[in-house]
Symmetry: C3
Subunit: 139 residues, 3 copies
């Protein structure tokens, strides 16, 4: 069994953004030499998501509005002793709705995707360097 | 390491539906000959979900209403240059809430499930042939 | 290829709770002897979630309120012939929002996590013994 690991570094200048990372994952797969197996791609941060969706700008403009409705910014009380002291609860919630990770089949050395499938990184607390983990196992 | 791949084709006549695909996945597992490993089952379309839940009709009647509330049909403006031009944003959102994929343990040649676990396909933009990917790796 | 399986038993006295199960998963990984591979951790029940998030009390106090808003208790009609007869639809919905499972990379014999990543069990229908499945494959 072959095993491959790589960290991708991303620095999103804005608070929130959606970025297609499919080309970087394809490059990892080439480096790995794996022909048949599974590729795990996950955010290493609890305020960012990795998910599969269409590469279509209008969709993400709608996602921005939709996530703001389903997971609005939470008013916190700084006097609470168990608060994390930062206004990022909504970032955790938005990330849970889109998910931490995707597992993609690897077949004949390629990501085994349907026509519109792309791997996206969803940032909800940007402005600093963050990591995505790529782990590929197989033969 | 053994590796198995199959596409399941589904054609749902209605716009939306929930279908138990556990029997087809069990048949794939038998064909694969894998006794110990992991089975990935994912939608190959960005407007359909694969998830695990109870096989109970009343539940899906409630899911239909619940998803319509959390991810209602979005009014789009055809003059937007970056719109995909179809009224399917809500289908993307409903699919994100239930998820693209499940990974199931394979133990002694069977799907290693709790008593009420079943694999469901959730269609949110039906009326045409669509695919589910089954990839099984192990020994 | 090595393969390891274990069931973790949890009994949550309250209806709902969030429990950090990372130490138990690390112990499973040690027992497995796997150095490179993938670890699947999933709820075996359809009214409980397994997900990754920060180990921070205030976050889960906010999650409790947030999930009650997004997936409130559903009024059911006992005369419906297809109802499951229990007031637990909301537990299914809450679990779908946080997810059934996580897949974690195993690298050099450890869970390959970012700094704030922990594996949590989310209970939405407690008061009885329930199971989490840990399946680890690799070398």
């Amino acid at each position: 069994m072959k095993s491959y690991r790589k960290e991708l570094w991303l620095q999103v200048p804005t608070r929130r953004a959606f970025i297609n990372i499919t080309p970087q994952i394809q490059e990892c797969l080439r480096e790995s030499g794996v022909r048949e197996g599974l590729a795990l791609v996950n955010s290493m941060h609890v305020t960012a998501a990795v998910f599969v969706d269409d590469d279509e700008k209008g969709l993400y403009r709608h996602y921005e509005v939709w996530l703001a409705q389903l997971a609005p910014v939470v008013a916190t009380d700084p006097s609470d002793e168990d608060t994390i002291g930062e206004d990022i609860y909504d970032a955790h919630m938005k990330r849970q709705l889109l998910g931490r990770e995707v597992v993609v089949a690897v077949t004949e050395g390629r990501l085994d995707f349907g026509h519109w499938e792309n791997i996206f990184y969803g940032e909800f607390d940007g402005g600093r360097k963050k990591r995505v983990l790529v782990k590929i196992i197989g033969e």
